[in-house]
Amino acid sequence: MSDLFQQESPLVQIEFSEPKGAAPRIEEKPFNGYLNLRGRSDHTGFIAGVLKVLGVEAPTEANTVIDAGDNRIYWFGPDEWLIVTKPGQQTRVRNDLLAAFAGVFSSVVDNSSGLTTIHVTGDNAAALIATDCPLDLHPREFKPGQCAQTRLAKAGMTISPLADGSGFELIIRRSFADYLLLWLQDAAIAFE
Amino acid sequence: MSKYSIFSLVRNAISYHENWAAAWRSPEPKQEYDALIIGGGGHGLATAYYLAKEHGMTNIAVLEKGWIGGGNTGRNTTIVRSNYLWDESAHLYEKSMQLWEGLSQDLNYNVMFSQRGVYNLGHNLQDMRDIQRRVNANRLNGIDGHVVSPEEIKRAIPEINIDQGCRYPILGASFQPRGGVARHDAVAWGFARGADRYGVDIIQNCEVTAIRQENGAVTGVETTRGRINAKKIGVVVAGHCSVLAEMAGFRMPIESHPLQALVSEPIKPIINTVIMSNAVHGYISQSDKGDLVIGAGIDGYNGYGQRGSFPTIEHTVAAICEMFPIFKRVRMNRQWGGIVDTAPDACPIIGNTPVEGLYFNCGWGTGGFKATPGSGWVFAHNVATGEPHELNRPFSLDRFVTGFLIDEHGAAGVAH
């Protein structure tokens, strides 16, 4: 049995169905790796460690996300990032980072089961999310390459526009995932 | 001044209501009084009334910066109950309840005190433990009340949703039959008229801008209508108490927060009691005029703006719709906010201050309307004698130094 077979997404109790009418498509991209990265962005050892393992520096511009090969790095705060890896890669990336940070004030914490990713796509993707997200999702204001930690209804999320402009990626917490999906599905009724 | 009654009403109707006297005079402030009460809310006016009535101090004035009753007294959801957990609170609020029970007659002013009962709902097992604890304590303190089941609640309030499958199901409630509501404005006006009858000067549009003291004792105040002297000053300004404390040179353990409320359009009677839920943050009763009167939770920031933030209202209305799904098509007519003075232990501060002759009565936060007569009664004692009454002794400012807090947060779930 490979370990992937032993996994269950937080959304196991949710039924995903084909969108009706003009409702956006909502799908899960399960089982990515999620690493919470902490460090002082002005510390050379830290910068070098990230560069060494991920091939890029952690973004220091607020509310941005960058691609780093197979991985993506989201700015979370002045000393905090989220690294999203391909499924199953998290342990290797974590161990490499931990090794690269030897002696450097930093933290790399595996939160892979704590988060999951949702894609909301289609013409009304922004409208669906805007039902209860206070962020301005207009393409003039929120472009691919940007990301934001904000809220959706009564739960937190990290949102970023998909590169192809088809919609948004939402990274949400496991224990709120069920609620948020039910919430989005209910909100989608307005577009059916 | 004529007494109010059905006979005086008929008599005056015959003379086209041309002969009603003013409910209170609007005198010019004198240069000096035996005592000043700063703040013309319910508490300040009640203090003046009882100072005159119980302590014979009639050469006194109430100074109000705006119009009397325009502070929290005029913007609260009017819930009256005395079923508090801790002995100290229970005794104080019960004293108030007893005064409420004869208040219209005592004041000769119908304050429409309506003892329609108050339900405090429990939504989880810990809520129910707390409710049991409080009701048991109330009973031993001689305060009416009992624990009721969801079915009993439903019988009394057929409109309520007791479905056990809902997000925060109603598991039960405490019920205090003697609790209820009153007509808030009438409370201020009734006390004002009552105090005026004893000769108390009620001076509106008179903002206190400085407190004068000599050798650690008060001598008077500066106001927007000039200097007024007095050797005893009672400060009863609710949300503004820190501002007044600063004038007197000390700080208070108080934060002033917006607290919001709203009313629906008037509808025919449908809610015949008072329902409070701390867990989902909604409080509801129906005024005699027919509007549903709904109170929200506090806004998290300090604010003197008499307005709060929209999400607070949004959540409160959702909570009401969750408890009363049939009200979704009823409409909200108006929303507003007050400035509540919250203390760390959610209990009032009543008593002496570091300045001699200066007394403070504040910290009633989200729940002082119910205490209006009792608060005035004990504070009058304190101002008149210079010493706290037994009922307000535990509520002194120095409890923050000794640590003797009367924490009504935890178990009693204080609010309104």
Partner: protein
Amino acid sequence: MSQRFRTAQGGRVDREREIQFTFNGKSYTGLAGDTLCSALLANGVHMIGRSWKYHRPRGVMSAGSEEPNAIFQVEKGNRTIPNARGTQVELYDQLDASSVNCWPSLDLDLLSINSKFSRLMPAGFYYKTFMWPQSMWMKYEHFIRKASGLGESPRELDPDRYEHTHAHCDVLVGGGGVAGLSAALAAGRAGARVIIADEQSEFGGLTLASKARIDDGEASQWIENAVAELQQMPEVTLLPRSTVFGYHDYNFLTINQRLSDHLPLAERPASREKLWQVRAQQVVLATGAAERPLIFANNDRPGIMLASAASIYSNRYAVQPGSRAVVFTNNDSAYQSALDLKAAGVEVEAVVDARAGSDSELANTVRSAGIQVINGSVVIDTAGRKRLSSVQVMRLSAEGSSVSGETRALSCDLLAVSGGWSPVVHLNAQSGAKPVWDEANAMFRPGEPTQAQFSAGGANGTLDLAGCLQEGAAAGNQAAIACGFEASTQPARAEPIDSQAILPLWLLPSPYTPGRGPKAFVDMQNDVGAADIALAVREGFKSVEHVKRYTAMGFGTDQGKLGNINGMGILAASMGQSIAATGTTTYRPNYTPVSFGAFAGQNLGDRLFDPVRKTAMHAWHEENGALFEDVGQWKRPWYYPKDGEDLQQAIDRECLAVRDSVGILDASTLGKIEIRGKDSARFLEMIYTNNWMKLEVGKGRYGFMLGEDGMVMDDGVTIRLAEDHFFMHTTTGGAAGVLAWMERWLQTEWPEMEVFLTSVTDHWATAAVVGPKSRAVVSAVCDGIDFSAQAFPFMASKTGTIGDVECRVNRISFSGELAYEVNIPANHGRFMWEKLMQAGAAFNITPYGTETMHVLRAEKGYVIVGQDTDGSVTVDDLGLNWALSKTKDDFIGKRSLSRPDTVRKDRKQLVGLLTEDPQTVIPEGAQLVDDPKAPTPVPMIGHVSSSYYSACCGHSIAMALVKGGRDRMGDTVYASLAGGRVIEATITESVFYDKEGAKADV
């Protein structure tokens, strides 16, 4: 066609589409495009309701949101709407409307008797009576309540849904009359993101009912073009049927959009309303101006309406609002109404103008149309019971303060009144500005904005069409420029009109002695008359806010839109002061009432009212019959009843299974925080009350967190994973708070500390495997760990694998049994759980929930923060002094522990209780007394915080906080319960089971 008062042509109604509706049970027809009121008027129905207090017959006063009288119950059953304003209810097929607040019927309303006693019911009469005997008030109140209120609340569940949306824009335009449309065009053409909202079904505002011309065409054509152009702009959102009802701080505005109420019941979409929460860079308020009536005796009869409403009904709805009209005014605009009425085929008896002369172009047009103009005169009274039949007119003295001469009766069934115009400053005032009195034009103009905001058109006090167009375009341009766009739209053109000054009039002079004549109404909905205002002043209620509260003026569903300005004028006159000095009452949301459902949106019901947080094993618990307990937002298994078991039977079984063999508990909800950095131990020394520097790597320790007030705030086990790496557990309910609390100290007080915190609550699924057979179970499931007692002692932590997934096992016990908490990344949570169940099958492994967990821990005397503590309990009160470091200089809350009250000897202390009768369980929350027979108030010595029947001990056990309890071992105390029931109990230590702690130590 039964619509006898429908004009032959014109209007914006669709003559091809007849619509059936019923009013008070009687069937009528109207046309598509009608409102309920216009359709009723088309059928000659003028008396549509009764007033609130005196039950006087009332008719339609206006054609908009200011309507005080035309209040209906629309529909019955689950789609009923109480208090719908008939002027804004769009007619749809089979609409069912009835009057509110009259019984048994509108025609014969028994409470109209009140009108006979109206002299006994002046403002505030209830404060003066109903006081004797004291006990009777509740009876009086019962009848008072029955008599008040307007419509009926729904009694059935609402089938409709309500939506929310957040929106952002450069320019929000509130109001879509010509001023608003001009602003939207200007901003939209500049490229700005624009939202324009209007409460009506069509954009265009008052001008829809106007025959004026814009840009050399009909005004209505210009409106149509403007709307079409806006619709083409991708960045412009047009919201019809959308009321901007709140203007909050930081240019946050709320809009209620009605999606379905205008459709026949059968055709309605799922969503009824949508609440827009808008952040605007700039706001243009173009909410128009509202006409005021005039205040004279009996000014409330059906058939009396605003002159502008008469125009709107004539021009927009193609209805004759009467057959024979008198127009009564103090300004020019009503002359247009006279022309409009005449054009609609209404006979216009006269225009009565309070001004001595009127020679504006408009007035002259009226004269030349053959309409008589009676200058220098006012209406002093009216006649007609359920419909106006005539008005009486007298001459006004030159200085305007009295009337004289002959009374002249003019017979008419319509009186169109105009007392001038009031800019709709509501939103401007809500936003924080203070309206400014303009004496010359007798109006409150919008105040100096306190936010990024413009007012334009009628809303700004500009009443002529050309001015409205010009101001709208200017505001739109400026707003767009302020957002960084280039904007230069030229305003549309209209003919300027000459007009003559208004003669401000509040309470009109009349031959009656003030206060003695018939009532002259100011607030029609609340039956507040001019005499009530005078009475309030006489009684000392002099502030405008006092007058509002004493008389109820402006308290109605119209919030005084129609009456307040007149009321303030009358109040000012009564007080002998200016209107500017009198001021307005406070403007607040909602501009018009908004249904509760719209506020709640979709945030309702078992799934969406509040997040339901679930663990990775949730589905398994459901499948296996668990009942759940709410702990914070989490659902935790409470117990797992087997067929027919009640709570007690289930927990007896669960408890015994754990103590005898092995049980399993989902502990995933505990808060989990990773703490990293070289100062982590030092940080924990401050956060917890005990010592952390010397904790071995691989070992855990139990700790208490205090608030700075010294009271217990949270507890849990923290494990040292490396010198600079800890793993903290918090309580389920406390998790978020503890993280924020620790971050706050780190970020604000000790930023130099090298510590990073990361919440991993959601990442780990945790199963507590508990009981003598737990070692066998976990050994069978987890690889790579030596579970022997020596290798894996109590409070140790090890990593291993389950399958090929890394897991962490902590030997922690909250039950006094040998126990292991097995943690695995939550995606594998159910997999782990099922493995453990499989491995445990041999030992009859028993899943248990929070209730059994509570009993097990109580048997051991372990406390639960939040149940055995309430924010007023210290560690010492709990008898857990060992957890307070004696060696640390400081930790959070330490100083508070030496305050006079915290060192008191008679503080309440946690003790155990054993009941006299071992089968009796003291209810939790019971109060304890020494003497149950003591007179009230009975002194209380403490209360029972936890209490259970313990199947393992074979008797009931309880924990209680008792004054000086630790010095009272062996004393008898009494739990005093409702109904005089008393339970006797003895104070004991709080450990009831395995006092030596032998069971965990194996």
